[in-house]
């Protein structure tokens, strides 16, 4: 139990993955290495080779309620941090910020290798990327259970839909973009995906009664863990023993494929650009031989003893921590969809190739959830050397964020940094402390080929 809670807390606080839908602010930065990943029809001014392991790194965190400082609190001793589960954290103070369903997403992405080059009216890309996603669904009652327990007079909790998902995969993609004519460009990217891990734990039922006359837990949960090379032993009760495992990496836990499609069209003397793209339309199939499956069906009942003249009865049934134990069941192969994103945008250039304003609608589809973000951005370009965007996004119609992105690309380097949510205070590990949503993208590459202006002249 402690392990699960710590893992959940660490996931919330550290790895930081998100409802991260790429860096929306970069959509209108034509010269960045990133915007081709938002719409494969886009072509940067010049080709590039990304610096291995530093070509593009992104980290994103988002939650509808929880920021880092709502999970971790300064230790009253004056040194270090304690979790919200610590006794010194006041329950009322902690619970006041929570919603009925609390979602936490953490995304971490890294480009291992990437390059792109122009060939006539075409632009080719090749990328190897790593992606990690963590998603937690935490009902408010989970936190109440943790912080209040029975209270003074007893409590009843319904923590249905408590769950967590962790996935990790690498993708190898080849992209092609073609300028059909002065107005129309189209592009596509094919990706082969090697799945490293997909762990999904979810409780369809979690009723907890903590009263002075009885404690009762009735829980039904399922676990699917597909991990490359990782196997778990059973404990003496036939339950999966997560601490007793063996790791021997031989091959990916799953294989998949995905495609990106995009198009852009220029109107009004090429001042207005309309564009649309579908990103990560695909799936990963996880093999049964790499999957560990388990179910938790816990019934715990405790009402103490009953003593009378005829004898003594004890009411104990089950174990308090049974709901954290998953009995092994026959694993089956399963498929998971990627987080498919649809981007639709319009951009108008007030001063051609210098100042523009754009509007981007970005919708990401996940199992049982859809996230929509609307971003307005203003972009300034100083020739092909420097471009900067400032954006304002409305996230799921709930709250607004302000971001910026800068692409610096003289002849010898292509440096990129951006965020959809300007950072406030961050931890030593660069995790935002007070923000419910944050992301940061950094990229470094070496330009290839002729300058955009030179090519324009020759064409």
């Amino acid at each position: 139990m402690k392990k699960i809670l710590i893992i959940a807390a660490v996931a919330v606080m550290g790895l930081g993955l998100a409802n991260a839908q790429s860096l929306r602010t970069a959509y209108f930065l034509e010269n960045s290495m990133l915007n081709n990943s938002l719409n494969p029809a886009f072509q940067p001014y010049r080709g590039y080779v990304s610096i291995p392991l530093a070509g593009s790194t992104d980290i994103a965190y988002s939650s509808n309620s929880l920021a880092l400082d709502k999970i971790l609190y300064p230790d009253e001793s004056g040194s270090g941090l304690v979790t919200f589960m610590d006794a010194q954290v006041d329950a009322t103070e902690f619970l006041k910020n929570l919603k009925s369903d609390n979602r936490v997403d953490l995304d971490l992405g890294m480009k291992i290798l990437g390059f792109g080059f122009h060939s006539g009216k075409s632009f080719w890309t090749f990328d190897i990327d790593l992606k990690n996603n963590v998603n937690l669904d935490l009902p408010r009652e989970f936190f109440e259970f943790a912080k209040i327990g029975s209270g003074e007079s007893g409590m009843t909790y319904n923590m249905k839909d408590f769950g967590a998902n962790v996935s990790s995969y690498a993708s190898v993609g080849v992209g092609y973009s073609r300028t059909i004519n002065e107005r129309l460009s189209v592009g596509a990217k094919m990706k082969v995906i090697a799945g490293a891990a997909n762990v999904d734990m979810r409780y369809s039922k979690m009723d907890v009664v903590m009263r002075s006359d009885k404690w009762e837990i009735d829980a039904v949960g399922e676990l699917e863990a597909s991990c490359a090379g990782l196997t778990f032993e059973d404990d003496d009760q036939g339950c999966i023993d997560f601490e007793n495992n063996d790791f021997s990496l031989k091959k990916p836990a799953g294989w998949g494929a995905a495609i990106d499609l995009g198009a852009s069209y220029k109107l009004l003397d090429e001042r207005l650009t309309l564009s649309a793209a579908v990103i990560d339309l695909g799936f990963i199939k996880w093999g049964a031989e790499n999957t560990t499956s388990g179910t938790a069906q816990a019934k715990y009942y405790f009402a103490g003893f009953n003593v009378n003249k005829d004898g003594t009865e004890s009411s104990l049934e089950g174990d308090f921590e049974d709901f954290t134990k998953f009995k092994r069941v026959e694993p089956q192969s399963n498929s998971t969809g990627l987080r498919t994103t649809i981007n639709v945008a319009g951009e108008f250039e007030f001063v051609k190739n210098v100042i523009s304003a754009g509007l981007l609608s970005s919708t990401q589809f996940r199992p049982n959830k859809t996230f929509t973000e609307l971003t307005a951005a203003g972009t300034v370009r100083l020739k092909e050397i420097l471009a900067a965007s400032v954006s304002c996004s409305l996230v799921n119609g709930q709250y607004a964020t302000v971001g910026f992105a800068v692409n610096f690309s003289p002849s010898w380097i292509n440096l990129f940094i951006g965020t959809d949510n300007i950072l406030g205070k961050v931890s030593k590990q660069f995790i935002p402390i007070s923000q419910r949503s944050a992301n940061l993208y950094v990229g470094l590459g070496i330009p290839l080929g002729r300058k955009w202006t030179d090519r324009q002249k020759s064409e």
């Binding site: 400082d69 979790t83 209270g151 404690w215 103490g304 003289p410």
Partner: protein, 201 residues
């Protein structure tokens, strides 16, 4: 080249401005997880209930309870109560044992209740843990209603409680006897433990 230098400087300043926002007090490598608990500040744990069937104490002829009554229930030799849930409570916690006595008789009663446990592995050393009253005093139980009595206990006392082999009680009344109509009248004593600090994980 000069212009590139300017741009580089601007870019560097931008990066540095981000790093200047680092709060050194938030170091995710220094998290204390030793005191993680669930249950929060107050935890109430059911311990069980004792039923004293006053009907079985009646004088058959007169349907009259003769006071005082001393009696004991045998709980077995190995302790009667699975106290595994108590193992999760902090050793240095503050505990309160709450007894709610339900008195079905329309007379104020005096009540003493204790659990006998044996220390060590021997069976000769028997000690008594008084839950209501003590070795010489009783508590007053209101007529025809509930009376709540709380006592502070230590973790050791709770362990002794779980290992009890007998529960003994004394019931007294100002009147020498009380006549009742219902031979199935039961006095119930519900016991709960209130703990500060939650369950340790």
């Amino acid at each position: 080249m000069k212009r590139n230098l300017k741009f580089s400087t601007v870019f560097l300043i931008l990066c540095l401005s981000l790093s200047s926002c680092v709060d050194n007090n938030y170091d995710l490598t220094d998290i204390n997880t030793d005191d993680i608990t669930i249950g929060g500040e107050n935890l109430v744990i059911p311990m069980g209930q004792i039923e004293i069937n006053l009907g079985q104490l009646l004088t058959k002829a007169s349907q009259t309870i003769n006071f005082p009554v001393n009696d004991a229930y045998d709980l077995g030799n190995d302790g009667f109560f699975d106290g595994s849930i108590l193992d999760k409570l902090p050793n240095d916690g503050n505990f309160t044992l709450v007894s709610v006595v339900s008195n079905p008789i329309g007379e104020t009663l005096s009540l003493r209740l204790w659990f006998d446990y044996r220390s060590g592995d021997g069976s000769s050393q028997t000690h008594s843990l008084y839950v209501l009253g003590d070795v010489s005093n009783t508590v007053r139980v209101n007529a025809a209603g509930e009376t709540t009595v709380t006592i502070n206990v230590t973790r050791d006392m709770l362990d002794h409680f779980c290992k009890a082999v007998d529960v003994g009680f004394y019931i007294g009344c100002e009147k020498s006897s009380v006549t009742v109509d219902d031979s199935n009248l039961k006095m119930t004593i519900k016991l709960t433990v209130k703990a500060k600090g939650g369950i340790e994980l």
